[in-house]
Assembly symmetry: C3
Homo-oligomer: 139 residues x 3
């Protein structure tokens, strides 16, 4: 069995949004109990990450590190059409991930206790982001 749906999120600019519950709810009515749920982000300036979900400081420190690895407005960038965060956002997206497959058992995402699924907006301005959820498996 396969079920597919697209979730739309409105971000508030750079930062993370916990989308675990939305992804869990998506096509929950499909009756797929065992299998795999793949989340895919249709953008190149944001990402999907699995991150520690207890202490928000982890995501704050992650932001500090990514800003260092792919700084906004780096003088070496040629691509800056949409501003100093444009190229940095593309690089951050590639250094993290756009596509994640998470196992499903008894209809639930088999995440670890401290794992949250986050949409990470890398642009400084708010954006609309589409995440395609595909569930494959058996009832």
């Amino acid at each position: 069995m396969i079920e597919q749906t697209t979730l739309e999120f409105r971000t508030r600019g750079r930062g993370t949004t916990d989308i675990t519950a939305e992804v869990q709810r998506a096509v929950a009515a499909s009756g797929i109990a065992k299998g795999l749920r793949t989340v895919f982000l249709q953008h190149t300036s944001a990402s999907l990450i699995l991150c520690e979900n207890a202490d928000p400081d982890v995501r704050r420190d992650l932001e500090t590190l990514l800003s260092r690895l792919a700084p906004d407005g780096d003088p070496a960038y040629v691509h800056d059409t949409e501003g100093p965060d444009d190229m940095a956002a593309h690089a951050r997206s590639i250094l993290t991930s756009n596509s994640l497959s998470i196992p499903v058992a008894e209809g639930k995402l088999m995440l670890g206790t401290w794992q949250g699924l986050y949409l990470y907006e890398h642009r400084t301005a708010p954006h609309s982001r589409s995440v395609v959820v595909t569930v494959m498996g058996e009832g």
Copy 2:
């Protein structure tokens, strides 16, 4: 239904090649309309990335950043059997990705408007690279 095929690419040394069309065409005759297409690179010194496909400067700037994060010929490297780009290539591969799952609807890859799928060669010399495409889904 499952279809699997291996695509072979000859790279021209370090840099990106857009393989979106080849991956889209692969096993297009399978009749799988809805599901997931997984691309897997059988190498550890190249990668598969989803990158902005409109402005080639994005890939040029990405190259600048990766050269900084994993420099060729870094004096700290112990592994340099095949030259100064050898270890750098392995590190770049691990910092990006080798395996990507992309949803399929109506027989087409559900990529975002600005998303291209690229084979990224990290070695400076040309190489032959194998990409396994697995399509799972229903007609």
Copy 3:
């Protein structure tokens, strides 16, 4: 057909463990000859990587690079509840990967000649790590 199992590994602290054989053996009795095997790590301070498997120096150099990109005890970190390697481990996990899908043919992982699948422990102390293996395909 779908088969799913969880493998448990005890790490010896920071460093890599080759888990290729264990993942290959997992649910080998399932009779799934063609398809996809997805490995998923239920933790946010370790990772799953595909790395060159011939020269251990590659993993040593990778460790050197990751220590540079996400240093232990960086004064910028706010999150240090579990010690100087705590936040560094979360960042390393996100810069590498937690979820990998590997094609299967004739019942075997279609890895390249030099590709090994490694569990990468990023904490300095030993930990127990759970890897969920999901095999989807046909006989």
